[in-house]
């Protein structure tokens, strides 16, 4: 029996048996490639971290007030007030969900560079605190809902134009405090816009008053219009998703209740909402034997429409909503006052 032993490991250096250096050397030489790759990875990571310490992206300096607004509605209000005196950037875009919003890197950079942050308030933006922390925003937060009477902690304040006016006043005051030199410009813009909002309120009232109380019925996709019903004495028959959040799924019992309510009250239509899928509304309408307003005829609720659509601004969105509502009730729409002609 003679066996040639193949010794493929390099000879160990002369060292005391069991001493640490020899054992480390054993590991290093036996796992050469593993060590090399580990070192390379560590080097790359280290380089990245080192280079990241160098010039961070610097936001461009500007003398204009930098405003970031959360929802499409307060972004619209902000733009109306700001005019050309301040730059307004919106976070949530048209048809994006406010509830489940995940800020992108650009959102966070915009926030970091902002002087002022306008929020809709009433905890509508649950993600906001983390976004502020993550971006390192150091400016002022303007809560547009300050001082507005809430109904059941519902955050959809803006659906009542009177509330919208209050929100505008809050925002204008906030801008003025942040940039006193431009306070006059903001005030002028705000007043002009408020005039339009008042005209809007009056026009809606005049329209709705044509409709007998018993026929002022509304079925929506989710509970987004509480302040609207309250302002104009409209009866809320029910909503498909009985929640302030657009993300839930209704149970069978809830759907049955709604269909029964529709039939009892004699509601003539079910309204879908522009930012949501119309399928539920279509199904309910079919079950109850009533009309469904979806697609282009859907209501603008949580979100304004995209640029160029019928609901791109708060005023145009509200006018659209009232138009389809009057159509569903079967009453003629009164002409718009001069101040609101688009």
């Amino acid at each position: 029996m003679s066996v040639t032993m193949q010794d493929s490991t390099p000879p160990l250096p002369a060292a005391k048996r069991g001493s640490l250096p020899s054992r480390v050397w054993q590991v290093v030489s036996c796992n050469n490639r593993a060590i090399c790759i580990t070192t390379a990875v560590v080097a790359v990571v280290g380089t990245v971290l080192a280079l990241s310490g160098c010039a961070a992206p610097v936001p461009s300096a500007s003398t204009k007030l930098a405003v970031v607004a959360t929802t499409t509605q307060v972004a619209d209000f902000s733009r109306q007030i700001a005019g050309t005196t301040a730059t307004v950037t919106g976070l949530v875009q048209a048809n994006q969900s406010v509830h489940g919003f995940d800020p992108s890197a650009k959102n966070l950079l915009d926030l970091a560079a902002a002087d002022v942050l306008v929020t809709s308030g009433v905890d509508l933006e649950a993600w906001l605190k983390d976004a502020i922390d993550a971006s390192g925003f150091k400016g002022t937060v303007i809560d547009a809902s300050t001082g507005i009477t809430l109904i059941d902690n519902d955050p959809h304040l803006w659906t009542n134009p009177a509330n919208a006016t209050l929100m505008v006043q809050n925002i204008a005051a906030g801008f003025a405090a942040a940039a006193p030199e431009q306070a006059d410009a903001f005030q002028t813009n705000a007043v002009a816009y408020e005039t339009q909002l008042n005209a809007l309120d009056g026009w809606i009232s005049a329209n709705v008053e044509q409709v007998p109380l018993a026929e002022r019925l509304l079925v929506t996709n989710h509970d987004a219009f509480t302040y609207f019903y309250d302002a104009y004495d409209i009866t809320f028959v029910g909503s498909i998703i009985p929640s302030l959040d657009d993300n839930a799924e209704p149970s069978a019992a809830e759907l049955d209740r709604l269909i029964a309510a529709i039939k009892t009250t004699g509601a003539k239509a079910v309204f879908s909402e522009a930012s949501l899928s119309p399928k539920l509304a279509q199904t309910i309408a079919q079950e109850a034997g009533v009309a469904v307003y979806s697609g282009e005829d859907a209501l603008y609720s949580d979100s304004l429409g995209a640029a160029g659509s019928a609901g791109a601004t708060y005023i145009s969105a509200t006018i659209h909503n009232v138009t389809v509502l009057m159509d569903s009730w079967g009453y003629e729409l009164l002409p718009l006052p001069a101040t609101l002609s688009l």
Binding site: V3, T4, M5, Q6, S8, T9, L12, R17, G18, R23, Q26, V27
Partner: protein, 259 residues
């Protein structure tokens, strides 16, 4: 040859082993001494592998007594046992070299924090030498031939310097040269005082290597020397209803030649 002067390394009395509620093997009473080889013979499913797993402690002892190295099982017992399972349980794609597989036999000694020391590598190298696999140490295990893998797993069992070896169907799938090599290896181990338990279907090899035989079929049929155990009556009891491969070399009692 008698081994009554060598210490008993394994003693069972009325032992039974079960998979959960199913008793797989019972009524086992036997003694194995250092340097002895015991052959376990019986049809498929008769409890041969069960016996090995019971001795190893993988299966629980549900009746009787079992003493290993003169005492009940301790935490250290496993370190003195070497086990060669049936090799079809091994994943051929596993990215380990033969050397690393053999080193696994030393793992229990190393615990989780110690790196393999010179002694461990030397034991692995010796095990490879004994099984004639030194040249293939760096080859990926799955690339070895069936016979080489078998020997590699044997080397793993040997690397721990066991006092008792348990081999489950070690001759399966081996061609003649490899079988001869394995027989040689077993003989050498026996001469060093290692006890060997071997399950096999091959009565020829059992006769060549083993000193005692345990015949089972769900229960112990017979235990003793080959002559005592491999009688026609015992074999019929063990293999009743099962086709036995018998050639003229089996069932040879001392003093008789074929039939």
């Amino acid at each position: 040859m008698t081994f009554s002067t060598a210490p008993a390394v394994l003693q069972l009395s009325g032992a039974a082993f079960a998979y959960g509620a199913d008793v797989a093997l019972d009524g086992v009473t036997l003694t194995v001494h250092a340097g002895e080889a015991l052959a376990l013979i019986g049809p498929n499913g008769s409890g041969k592998s069960t016996f090995l797993k019971g001795v190893l402690g993988i299966l629980p002892l549900t009746a009787g007594t079992l003493q290993i190295f003169g005492t009940d099982r301790t935490a250290d017992t496993a370190r003195s046992l070497g086990y060669l399972p049936q090799s079809d349980e091994v994943d051929p794609e596993f990215p380990v070299s033969l050397e690393q597989v053999v080193l696994m036999g030393r793992y229990r000694r190393l615990g989780w924090w110690r790196l393999p020391a010179r002694a461990d590598r030397a034991a692995a190298a010796e095990a490879l030498r004994v099984t004639g696999l030194t040249a293939l140490a760096k080859t990926r295990f799955g690339l070895l031939s069936g016979g080489q893998q078998q020997r590699g797993l044997l080397a793993r069992a040997l690397a721990a310097n066991p006092r008792m070896l348990l081999l489950d169907e070690p001759f399966n799938g081996l061609d003649q040269p490899n079988r001869d090599a394995l027989v040689e290896t077993i003989r050498e181990l026996k001469s060093h005082g290692v006890a060997v338990l071997i399950t096999t279907h091959d009565l020829v090899l059992a006769r060549d290597v083993c000193d005692t035989v345990l015949l089972v079929n769900g229960t112990q049929i017979a235990f003793g020397t080959l002559a005592d155990v491999l009688t026609l009556e015992n074999l019929q009891a063990a293999f009743s209803g099962v086709q036995v491969e018998v050639d003229e070399h089996t069932v040879v009692l001392p003093g008789h030649d074929g039939h």
